[in-house]
């Protein structure tokens, strides 16, 4: 099957972002936290994207920020996937009170927008990387739970699962060897969407000042640092904003393509 142009562009851009995030230390022209220029300089040969509110090189901070943003989003979406898929499959294979209990719990968690829940929880917990990843992962796993449960319910009634049960295979065999391989393709497509959601979520939290704390930085935090410049016509805040937008759109293009190839199961954006 021929890849559409949009998917090629999306894959290329996503790959480029991953490369930058992986090798940030070697690519960035200046250190992350040293004021190398004057405040809010425009783009020049020395500072390609200009300097920020206290004279740090924006390009370098963008590159280091890519590392934090992509790392946090990736780990939390992996966590949400692991948890959501495991409990979803468990609910589908065991049925009964485990299924009812887990499903009602997820209904309860999804009854309130994730951002509101996150804000309530983060008002108590310490703000560090591990807490952020856990909170985002757990909140987002509800959506994966619903999808993987729906997919797995269809699979558990298949003859080969029945056969495995009659052979006397254990629960973990049925989940990992029978259901998982057959549920993989819709889940992979969903992963792209969850990853974007995690990028937007961590950026929003950091923008609100409740995400990544200085001296570490991410794109949402950079928008926050430089937002006051906009009033004086300094476009510094737009650079990280554009980075978020381009990353989200690139991954979206890839996810759309995978989705159109596999199935019509698509998780909503949701609160």
């Amino acid at each position: 099957m021929k890849m559409p142009l949009s998917a090629v562009i999306g894959l290329f851009m996503t790959g480029a972002f991953l490369f930058i995030a992986l090798f940030a230390q070697w690519i960035a022209p200046y250190p992350i936290d040293s004021a190398v220029g004057k405040v809010w300089e425009g783009p020049s040969a020395q500072f390609w994207l200009g300097t920020d509110t206290i004279g740090r090189d924006i390009l370098s901070r963008l590159i280091y920020g890519a590392q934090v943003t992509i790392f946090v989003a990736l780990v939390s979406s992996l966590l949400s996937f692991g948890m959501g898929a495991f409990f979803g499959f468990l609910a589908a294979t065991r049925g009964g009170w485990i299924d009812t209990g887990l499903s009602r719990l997820v209904d309860l968690m999804m009854a309130v927008p994730s951002l509101i829940v996150a804000l309530v929880v983060l008002s108590v917990l310490p703000l560090n990387l591990i807490v952020l990843i856990l909170v985002m992962g757990v909140l987002d796993s509800t959506r994966v739970f619903r999808l993987s449960r729906a997919v797995a319910v269809d699979i558990t009634v298949m003859d080969y699962v029945e056969a495995a049960r009659l052979r006397g295979e254990r629960q973990s065999w049925i989940i990992f060897r029978e259901i998982l391989p057959n549920a993989l393709s819709p889940l992979v497509a969903e992963f792209g969407l969850r990853f974007i959601f995690a990028v937007l979520f961590i950026s929003t939290l950091s923008f609100l000042g409740l995400g990544i704390q200085p001296p570490e930085t991410d794109w949402g935090g950079m928008v926050r640092e430089n937002k006051d410049g906009l009033i004086y016509g300094k476009a510094a805040a737009l650079m990280p904003a554009a980075a978020i937008a381009v990353l989200a759109i690139s991954v979206n293009l890839v996810a759309d393509w995978v989705l159109s190839r596999t199935s019509s199961l698509k998780g909503g954006r949701g609160g």
């Binding site: 309860l108 309130v112 108590v124 929003t204 000042g209 906009l230 979206n252």
Partner: protein, 318 residues
């Protein structure tokens, strides 16, 4: 009892139970997390005596269940307690801010809903051709932007490139309605952008779904123009799913409003919430969190009820 009334009553009762469960989670669940309110207020360097005194004063030594029920009954009577940081009455602080939030979200809804349905109709009319592709492409781009990113692009374009608006939205009591409208213009534009895409896509999908029916083919064959077919035959049959989507997106607006208020320093509920999360003022966060949850759950119930009431199969039972 008419089955439709029964369904509606059931749905509302379910929503109220859900809201109660959410209040339990927001209160007791948060209590269980590691963290100490007294420590949070006084900081790490607090002396043990000061901590004990503050715990006593805040009633933190009582069992959590007792405190939950005290809080719940007070909240039901409109008493949400006082803020830890400045000792002000929370219900009073929320009152005026809630009005501001509703004003902002309401303006956005009034503009976004007709616009989304109109664009959805056009996209469905020219399905697969350039107007459809243009509308779908642009909305796909806005769907993948977080609210604050969209907001800063709008600010930059409309205050710097074309200086039409002020970048800050101040509303204060005593402003005339017209002045208020002007003050919220920018945040409203941003909110419309954020919710438009989803509503428009679902409208388009709902119409295209109906377009498969046999009676649409009849309408086409008897010589109606495409717009007449959509307007007279497709839209009335797609109206129930469209209304449901519209209401769900209005609920989504509740979340969007939090971030947008912070961007524009708009003095309303979302800004109040975020400020007090940063200050770790738990009573305020819990109260505002419950209000947002209640609005969200309420709108979702409304969507379901409209879905039930507009469904002709349920309205005329066999």
């Amino acid at each position: 009892m008419h089955p439709i009334v029964k369904l509606v009553v059931q749905r509302i009762a379910l929503g109220l139970i859900l809201l109660w469960a959410v209040s339990v989670v927001i209160f007791l669940g948060v209590e269980m997390l590691p963290g100490d309110t007294a420590q949070a207020i006084l900081g790490q360097s607090a002396t043990p005596v000061a901590l004990a005194n503050l715990r006593e004063a805040l009633g933190l030594n009582e069992p959590a269940l007792t405190r939950y029920f005290n809080w719940l009954f007070a909240a039901l009577q409109g008493d949400l307690g006082v803020a830890l940081t400045n000792g002000q009455d929370i219900a009073k602080s929320i009152g005026s801010r809630f009005g501001n939030t509703l004003f902002l979200a309401g303006c956005a809804g009034v503009i976004a809903v007709p616009l989304a349905i109109g664009l959805g109709l056009i996209a469905a009319r020219y399905n697969g051709r350039w107007p459809d592709k243009l509308i779908s492409g642009v909305t796909l781009a806005t769907i993948s932007l977080p609210e604050f990113v969209a907001a800063y692009f709008v600010i930059f374009v409309l205050t710097q490139v074309f200086p039409i608006f002020q970048p800050v939205s101040m509303v204060f009591p005593g402003m005339s309605f017209w002045d208020k409208l002007q003050a919220v213009a920018l945040p409203v534009i941003v909110l419309v952008m954020v919710v438009l895409a989803h509503m428009m896509r679902m409208t388009r999908a709902a119409i295209l779904n109906v377009m498969q029916s046999a009676y649409i083919e009849t309408a086409v064959l008897k010589g109606l123009t495409p717009m007449q077919v959509i307007w007279r035959h497709a839209l009335p049959n797609a109206i129930a799913p469209i209304i449901t989507v519209v209401v769900i997106n209005l609920a989504y607006l509740v979340v969007g409003v939090v971030v947008v208020e912070v961007v524009f320093s708009y003095n309303a509920l979302g800004q109040y919430l975020v400020d007090h999360v940063a200050k770790r003022d738990l009573p305020v966060v819990q109260a505002v969190g419950i209000i947002f949850a209640a609005v969200y759950i309420g709108l979702n119930i409304l969507a379901d009820v409209i879905g039930i009431v507009t469904n002709p199969r349920l309205r005329n039972p066999k």
